[in-house]
């Protein structure tokens, strides 16, 4: 059974989440503050953690940093804080995703499943991904749209690979820049905008109605293409 640790200081939200998650077949453990959360993360070795940021004793961001010291458990932040700065800070501290309160249960469950899939791949990910008539061959570094071969620059390919291999995950500007361009480029988010635009054009995706790359304004990008 998949174990979920729910950390929130509001008893009502803990109760609602517990009821809902248990109904979906998850095993639920709860913690009301940061100290309990860190203890539970160490003792109960949960498969995933839902973490509120505004905890009474330790700020949620510090909780993530401290848990990252001993565990790679996926963390989804669930918070009323909706500022970009809060999201970026939590993600940079090591959170895997960010859901803003109030949320619909379906959305939280979908994010939760996507995060669990990434952290526990049932099979080694196939080297070839297909989305509609788009085919991405990760081992041979080939992209085809319909019958047409698409030529990507080295940077464009690096960006696409980073997105495709982290399906559903919110990737911050800083993370993408470090990964694709290197550590010296973490602040150059305009590079990223230029390359994402180019990639979208070549792959036939539109920012206004995205099928592949979703923009999280001010925070980062998410690969939303459903795997078959």
């Amino acid at each position: 059974m998949t174990k979920i640790l729910v950390v929130d200081d509001e008893p009502q939200i803990r109760r609602a989440l517990r009821t809902s998650l248990e109904a979906h077949g998850y095993e639920v453990r709860t913690a009301a503050n940061g100290t309990e959360a860190i203890e539970a993360a160490a003792d109960a070795s949960p498969d995933l953690m839902l973490l509120d940021l505004g905890l009474p004793d330790i700020d949620g961001r510090s909780v993530i940093e401290r848990i990252r010291g001993f565990s790679e458990v996926p963390v989804i932040v669930v918070s009323v804080r909706d500022l970009q700065a809060d999201k970026v800070a939590a993600l940079d501290a090591g959170a895997d995703d960010y859901v803003t309160k109030p949320f619909a249960m379906e959305e939280l469950l979908a994010r939760l499943r996507a995060t669990l899939r990434r952290s526990h791949p049932e099979d080694p990910a196939p080297p070839v991904r297909r989305v509609g008539d788009l085919e991405i061959d990760l081992s041979r570094r080939l992209v085809t749209l319909g019958a047409e071969r698409i030529h990507l620059t080295k940077t464009e390919w690096g960006l696409l690979e980073a997105l495709v291999t982290n399906p559903g995950k919110l990737l911050t500007h800083q993370w993408l820049l470090r990964r694709v361009w290197g550590p010296g480029y973490a602040e150059e988010s305009h590079y990223l905008r230029v390359y994402v635009r180019a990639l979208r054009r070549k792959l036939g995706d539109a920012a206004a109605a995205p099928r592949l790359i979703l923009t999280e304004p001010g925070v980062g990008y998410r690969w939303i293409a459903e795997d078959p």
Partner: protein, 482 residues
């Protein structure tokens, strides 16, 4: 008055009078004693000249010398009681006396003047350095200027001293007067900051002093410069305070905004999570989890409603829309009715009431009811199980004082003013309140001209003290800890 003026400067008149008096005294003494050799009389007259120079300055010395010369001639040289002089020797002696007397007189007066000038410079230096310390002391400008006027009045022996200055929007006036002293002509020294004239020092010497000396004028000019520095400094201080206040206000606004966001969204989050779970078609919930989720929705809806009610109350009071409908009200009766209504919740604590016979106060009983309710809710929330809550009502210095004391964890002095801010929660672990109760209470109490504050209780808990003025009393100043 006009006769005096025609006669001349009062100080010259004074010199002449001193000279005449000294010569007359010497004559009287010399004639009475009538020393055999005229030499004795000469010595007495010289003493008179020295006295005149000491008391009345060089001019008095000269007057005394001339009169002494004439008196010696009249009373002591042959033929006596005439201004004629028989012997050539006596003429020489008299002339020598006159020269010696004038020289001695002027030497004495000059030495004295030097001494006086030295003492004066020292006093001036002391005064200016005192002013400089005052300027740097950071005391309120009004107080510094008041100090300046007082010191100048003393140091220059003035009849009246005034400093008038503009500091930003404020106009400051400091004024000291020596009672019962006739005033001479006033002089006014402008105070300049840069090229702008921002005020003036007015110095009025006593009429008898006959005007101010050049040194006095210089001292006043130096003082005006010090006042200008003080004004400039106060202006800079005010700018710093304004900037700091603005930052604090912005921070407080941001904190308030994030509190409202948190407090409104948190119950909404529970409701939405519960409802979206209930609406899901892929799971079938048993009866018990269904009930739990519905209970959550109900509880959180009530919580939201309470919060919104409080927010609206606060907004109304702050906007001045909640005008108190004042009527003579017995505070103890309001307290008793609240106690009755809250009886269920008060069962968790021990309530002790000390309701002394207090006069009625003009308040809106409904609003007072809300204040008392908010205060009691806090007392219950923070009390340990079975803790004692003491409610006392008593007359107190033109007001009626209501005091609610609990045995909770107490509030440290630094926090006692902050707890009245909206959404401020003293203890982050205690989230059950809206964080608005005390803010609303204070707003209502202020609208009634009363005041409310937190004190430490001897038991270690919190005492909330509320004072409402009687009908004919002035509004109580709400002191706020800075």
């Amino acid at each position: 008055m006009s006769a005096w003026h025609r006669f001349g400067n009062p100080s010259r008149v004074r010199s002449a009078l001193v000279g005449i008096a000294a010569a007359s005294l010497s004559t009287g003494l010399a004639v009475t004693v009538h020393p055999a050799p005229a030499l004795g009389a000469v010595a007495i007259y010289l003493l008179g000249v020295v006295g005149a120079a000491t008391l009345g300055g060089a001019a008095a010395g000269v007057v005394a010398s001339l009169l002494s010369f004439l008196s010696l001639n009249y009373f002591f040289t042959f033929p006596r009681y005439t201004f004629r002089v028989a012997s050539a020797d006596d003429i020489v002696s008299l002339c020598v006396f006159l020269i010696v007397a004038v020289i001695v007189g002027s030497l004495v007066s000059r030495a004295l003047a030097e001494g006086a000038r030295a003492a004066r410079s020292e006093r001036e230096a002391r005064l200016l350095s005192y002013f400089a310390t005052k300027v740097m002391s950071g005391h309120a400008l009004g107080r510094v200027l008041d100090d300046f006027t007082g010191s100048l009045l003393e140091a220059l022996g003035l009849a009246r001293c005034e400093i008038h200055a503009r500091a930003g929007e404020d106009v400051l006036d400091a004024r000291r007067v020596r009672e019962g002293v006739a005033e001479g002509g006033a002089i006014t020294i402008p105070i300049r900051v840069g090229s702008e004239e921002v005020g003036a020092i007015t110095a009025v010497p006593p009429f008898s002093a006959g005007g101010l000396l050049e040194e006095d004028r210089r001292l006043l000019e130096q003082s005006a410069k010090q006042v200008a520095i003080a004004l400039e400094r106060a202006g800079l201080d005010a700018q710093v305070v304004r900037a700091r206040t603005e930052v604090e206000i912005n921070q407080a606004r941001a904190a308030l905004f994030s509190s409202v966001t948190h407090d409104l969204r948190t119950p909404l989050a529970s409701i939405k999570a519960a409802v979206t779970t209930l609406l899901q078609e892929d799971v079938t919930l048993d009866e018990e989890p269904r009930r739990e989720l519905l209970t959550t929705v109900l509880e959180e809806t009530d919580r939201l409603n309470r919060l919104l009610g409080n927010l609206l109350d606060l907004a109304k009071v702050r906007a001045g829309a909640l005008v108190p409908a004042k009527e003579p009200t017995a505070v103890d009766e309001v307290v008793e009715s609240v106690l009755h209504r809250m009886a269920d919740r008060l069962a968790a604590v021990r309530v002790r009431t000390l309701l002394r016979d207090a006069p009625e106060v003009p308040v809106d009983p409904v609003q007072l009811d809300q204040v008392v309710t908010n205060l009691l809710e806090n007392a219950i929330r923070f009390s340990p199980a079975g803790g004692e809550v003491v409610i006392s009502v008593a007359p107190w210095q033109g007001a009626v004082q209501l005091r609610i004391t609990d045995q909770g964890p107490g509030i440290v002095p630094e926090e006692r003013e902050r707890v009245f801010q909206a959404f401020y929660r003293g203890d982050a672990k205690e989230r059950s309140g809206s964080g608005l109760g005390l803010a609303i209470a204070r707003a209502i109490v202020l609208a009634h001209g009363g005041r409310i504050r937190i004190e430490g209780a001897p038991s270690g808990g919190t005492a909330v003290v509320l004072e409402l003025p009687l009908a004919d009393a002035a509004p109580l100043p709400q002191e706020t800890a800075s």
